[in-house]
Symmetry: C2
Subunit: 204 residues, 2 copies
Amino acid sequence: MTAVATRPLTPAARRILAVASELFYTRGINTVGMELVAERASVTKKTIYDRFGSKQELVVAYLRVRDERWRDYVTDHLAGARTPRARVVATFDALHTWMEAENPRGCAMVNAYTELSDPEHPGRAVAEGQKRWLRSLLTEIVADAGVADPAALAESLAMLHEGAVVARSVLGDTRAALTACAAARTLMTAHGIAADASEAAGQR
Amino acid sequence: MTAVATRPLTPAARRILAVASELFYTRGINTVGMELVAERASVTKKTIYDRFGSKQELVVAYLRVRDERWRDYVTDHLAGARTPRARVVATFDALHTWMEAENPRGCAMVNAYTELSDPEHPGRAVAEGQKRWLRSLLTEIVADAGVADPAALAESLAMLHEGAVVARSVLGDTRAALTACAAARTLMTAHGIAADASEAAGQR
DNA sequence: AGGTAACCACACCGGTAGGTATACTCGCGA
DNA sequence: TCGCGAGTATACCTACCGGTGTGGTTACCT
């Protein structure tokens, strides 16, 4: 009899989740009360608790949805890229456009990890999962390129991702992902993943 | 008549600041109440407000002290390094030992930036200042090495710093700073900052 | 016709948040 | 000796937090 058992969200539940996502991301999870969420979603608190059970579960739902959106976004960007090098570059392109479109306040997963200081909070696992996912994605890609130590290179590339997000949010550097991408290219070249012909249009 | 006008903190004020720093860092700023700080510092709330004026000012004091400690820590590590390359490596060494000693929960500045979602909160400027400081430090160092675009390389190196902190806190990767350092070395080599003789002992 | 899922309105709960008020004690320097 | 800064103790303020309970309305499924 767990709430949120997954599956077809009712119209009100969809509104609640949409409103909560927006609020949790832009103002922070801990500073947003359920009363505000209810008001913004034109719903009573009762309805929120009937659909989601608790704030904790609503937070988890928010993180899960956002995590999935990001994974799909990256996967879509990967579609057109054929070489491993182009695929890595595509992840940085995805990061760049994603941040410009809807990520001015940093990575939602890292933010949540920070805000949910209780180690038992299930939201932390979602955040951790996303970080591990990116690492394994990058590891697979560079392994395909025949790199000696794929995990180490992937880890460095992931750090550039993370660092770019911080630079974008704290310093307002809108070109952060581009700078990180340039560094990623340099790193790949040094590891023997050479620039292919199609990379003539690369700025840097 | 501002409180905290700086300088010689009374004994109680020192205890308050020490306790608040510990609590704010490990549990998060928003989840720690003044009542708890008072209790842990064996002080009444009255005393806190007499010395610091408000929670906001206490938070700023916490961030300032921590920022200064980190800058001093890095500066100390820079002392023994003579070449630009060794100096950059020294910043990663500092990061490594710092994180092992007292940073398991990520960067206090980035965390505070996340938690203090109100753009007007003066704590955000402290966090931003630390990020700019690291960038300018790294820019100076690589400029000394005669790199073509020092700012761009420094930015990449700073992103590796930031990414290492995230990897350490979210993923628990205790070797994160070492991995980042290896990437930094590769980046420097690619930018013409060659390994000097003294770098025989470098692991990687 | 009956049942049930999905909602609404509203009132309420205990707990805690940041912050203030009053009144008193102690030790130090002029 | 007197004032003052630093501190104590305790009680209190308003506001909001996450969460619950009651009761009622609509609409669809059987």
